[in-house]
């Protein structure tokens, strides 16, 4: 979360902290008396490759059901992948067992969306925050002092160590969740919608706290959210997911100023701007329909059923992840905001799904008319 421009754009940098390759997570659907009837599979995460560098914040955005939470849960192995590799500091943890994961879990902690549901209402705050230390047998020094230190670190009064979660407000409870996640001095925090249950003025407090902690403790964040304006504020790089696939991966600013995938553009355009004049001035494109069923996703590009630019090609061939200059990746046959030069220099990313086609987008003359039809997206 340092200066956004300084963010190392993905693969080019040295060994990433956390890395997934062609990750797939499918959920079997069962019905009937004791679940004996198989009823297809939910393609929650479907061939996703991503990297997280040291001290980097990777934002993961998308609508409900796009697989962003499943991705985060699988990254820290709360969920076992169906296929693909997860590597943490080079160590393959894709199918590691409990014991092998103990050390990894110390380094990767999670902060959940609903602080009300993720804190035990019958335990005192001190016990909640000390729990990870107890579970991992970390006993160096005085746990009481460490708890007080953690409370102070997240801006809570250390004297409140004996209070119960219900005695705190929503924002304070989220701070308790953050303190607990920090107890084992992790290097990665998975933040799953950490501020979406909070009021705006309190959201700002928690976001500021997270940024401070990252600077001070050198943390890496995976920040999962549906709110693109919050994600813009915190992220170095952002991955946009649609129905289990990566639609676009981009340095944070470029995603907002120059979205390449029509889904990203539509998503940005759908967000009402808290500024009446600008809101009136921009042209709105209201996306028709709803995300399709992840049990039976559309052929080819998954966004084609709602996409204003879709052609027959989109139904026949799944678009590969195409890497444009500046580490900006998008999976689209008919990209926005790129000129012929951008297209000529683009390459097929090795992160492209195995099922995707080989052919990269063609220069505008060959396939499509004018670019940038929706300048409003910027």
């Amino acid at each position: 979360m340092s200066a956004p421009t300084a963010s190392p754009p993905g693969p080019a940098t040295a060994a990433p902290l956390l890395e997934v390759e062609h990750l797939k997570v499918y959920f079997e659907l069962r019905s009937g008396p004791i679940g004996r009837v198989r009823g297809g599979r939910v393609h929650a995460v479907d061939d996703v490759s991503l990297r997280l560098a040291e001290r980097e914040t990777l934002g993961v955005v998308g609508e409900s059901g796009c697989g962003k939470t499943t991705l985060a849960r699988t990254l820290i192995r709360l969920q076992e992948p169906t296929e693909g590799r997860i590597r943490f500091r080079g160590q393959d943890i894709s199918h590691a067992g409990r014991r092998a994961l103990t050390g990894v879990r110390r380094e990767m902690q999670m902060v959940f969306q609903d602080p009300q549901a993720s804190l035990n209402p019958r335990k005192r705050v001190g016990a909640i925050i000390a729990a990870p230390m107890r579970l991992h047998g970390v006993s160096d020094g005085d746990p009481g002092r460490r708890v007080a230190e953690l409370l102070e670190q997240v801006g809570l009064n250390p004297e409140h160590v004996n209070r119960f979660p219900h005695e705190f407000s929503g924002g304070q409870r989220q701070r308790i969740g953050v303190a607990r996640a920090l107890a084992l001095e992790p290097s990665v925090l998975m933040l799953d919608e950490p501020v979406s249950a909070l009021d705006v003025s309190i959201q700002a407090q928690v976001i500021n706290l997270l940024e401070e902690l990252q600077d001070r403790l050198g943390l890496s964040f995976v920040f999962v959210a549906h709110d693109l304006s919050v994600v813009r504020h915190v992220s170095d790089r952002i991955a946009v997911m649609y129905l289990g696939k990566l639609a676009e991966v981009s340095p944070a600013e470029a995603l907002y100023t120059r979205p390449i995938h029509p889904y990203t553009a539509a998503l940005l355009n759908a967000i009402p701007i808290p500024d009446p004049r600008e809101n009136r001035a921009r042209e709105r494109i209201v996306l028709e329909g709803e995300p399709p069923n992840p049990i039976d996703p559309p052929s080819g590009c998954r966004f084609r059923t709602r996409c204003p630019r879709a052609t027959t090609l989109c139904a026949e061939v799944e678009p590969p992840l195409t890497e444009y200059a500046g580490g900006h990746l998008a999976a689209c046959h008919h990209p926005l905001n790129v000129d012929d030069h951008d297209i000529a220099t683009a390459v097929r990313s090795p992160d492209s799904p195995h099922s995707s086609g080989e052919q990269l987008p063609q220069a505008s003359g060959a396939t499509l008319g004018p670019q940038r039809p929706d300048s409003s997206a910027g």
């Binding site: 956004p4 609508e63 409900s64 801006g155 809570l156 009064n157 407000s169 929503g170 924002g171 304070q172 009021d199 705006v200 003025s201 309190i202 959201q203 700002a204 407090q205 976001i207 500021n208 706290l209 940024e211 549906h226 709110d227 693109l228 304006s229 919050v230 813009r232 504020h233 600013e253 907002y256 539509a266 998503l267 940005l268 355009n269 759908a270 967000i271 009402p272 701007i273 808290p274 500024d275 009446p276 004049r277 600008e278 809101n279 709105r284 209201v286 996306l287 028709e288 709803e290 910027g378």
Partner: protein, 347 residues
């Protein structure tokens, strides 16, 4: 003024085990036909209690009401249950945040819409009511309405369920529609669709709309006028542009400063409002925002009335004792340095 709805000094309090909670503490609002009034505030500001009180949904042995809320010639606070039953649906309709819990899960959606239509128009035949229900669902954009009307609520997506709720709310052509966080549970692309729907029905039906929300983006998108609530009171009320471009209350400044914007490069730090809203069991005396306000002075221990404080803008009212000239000066400073960035200390 001949407004559709006039709320004057509405007070709602609830007796609880811990004492009396003054949830709504002197709210005055006007809504005209064909107008969208946004009521903005954070959790606990009393915006939903205000909305539900208009529908008579907060009545209980532990609740007490003062003030006045009139729609047409009817005083809502004094209406009998029988009167309220006639008013609900026909005069005032409501859309809730979570359509799943507002719909009956074991009844087909068509039957639920028909039930509402026939409750207010007993002469209508079942077949005619069903036709009307199909028309309503088509009008709010439910595809294949004639088939989908036989579905149960769980067979619809969140956005479609909210459309069904709107169809139901429109079934008796109400003159006032109250939408309580109608898009909060929805994804942004679906939110955009539903907001378009609300804007369209305002034009089509000339109904007044009260939109309760915490999202200033939604407000900027659809509202004509805005009332900002804090700790049970309206602290500022005015037209959309006045509120965004010439806000008069320090709480509004803080609210506008703490939003992250998708169309702006990120600031170094968000201007958070320090501290948190007061407990409504024992609110601070005088201005409720006083303990969090960076511009507090002696007079703030007196309750400021909701008044027009600048002769040149008579329809903009606020509850702040600061001199309008001082406000202009303070706000410029506030804009550049952020209101208060000291958010780390919580007592």
């Amino acid at each position: 003024m001949g407004n559709l709805l006039e709320v004057r000094d509405l007070r709602v309090s609830f007796r609880t085990e811990d004492g009396v909670v003054a949830a709504v503490d002197g709210v005055s609002l006007d809504v005209d036909r064909g107008e969208i009034l946004a009521v903005v505030g954070e959790s606990g500001s009393g915006k939903s209690v205000t909305a539900m009180t208009l529908m008579g949904l907060t009545r209980s042995p532990n609740a007490s009401f003062q003030g006045s809320a009139r729609i047409g010639d009817t005083e809502l606070l004094a209406a009998s249950e029988a009167q309220l039953r006639r008013i609900r649906g026909a005069e005032i309709a409501m859309i809730f945040q979570d359509p799943m819990s507002a719909l009956n899960p074991v009844q087909r959606v068509g039957a639920q819409i028909v039930e509402q239509i026939r409750a207010h128009d007993r002469a209508m035949s079942a077949a005619a009511a069903m036709d009307r229900a199909v028309q309503l669902m088509e009008r709010v954009g439910v595809p294949h309405a004639r088939e989908r009307i036989r579905s149960y609520p769980h067979e619809f997506s969140g956005g479609m369920r909210q459309r069904v709720m709107i169809a139901m709310a429109l079934s008796c052509a109400p003159s006032l529609l109250i939408a309580d966080e109608p898009t909060t549970a929805l994804d942004v692309t679906i939110q955009a669709q539903i907001l378009e729907e609300i804007k369209r029905l305002r034009v089509d039906t000339d109904a007044g709309v009260i939109l309760v929300t915490h999202d200033l983006g939604v407000v900027a998108d659809v509202a004509d006028r805005v009332a900002v609530m804090y700790a049970g009171r309206v602290v500022e009320q005015g037209t959309l542009d006045e509120l965004f471009y010439d806000p008069q209350h320090p709480y509004t400044w803080g609210l506008l400063g703490s939003i992250t914007r998708v169309d702006r490069a990120r600031p170094e730090r968000l201007a958070a409002i320090p501290g948190q809203p007061p407990s409504l069991l024992a609110p601070p005396e005088g201005c409720h925002f006083r303990p969090r306000c960076p511009h507090e002075f002696d007079r703030c221990r007196e309750i400021p009335g909701l008044e027009a404080r600048r002769p040149e803008v008579p329809d903009h009212r606020d509850r702040c004792w600061l001199d309008p000239e001082d406000k202009r000066r303070l706000r410029v400073v506030g804009d550049t340095i952020g209101l208060g960035t000291d958010d780390t200390v919580i007592a």
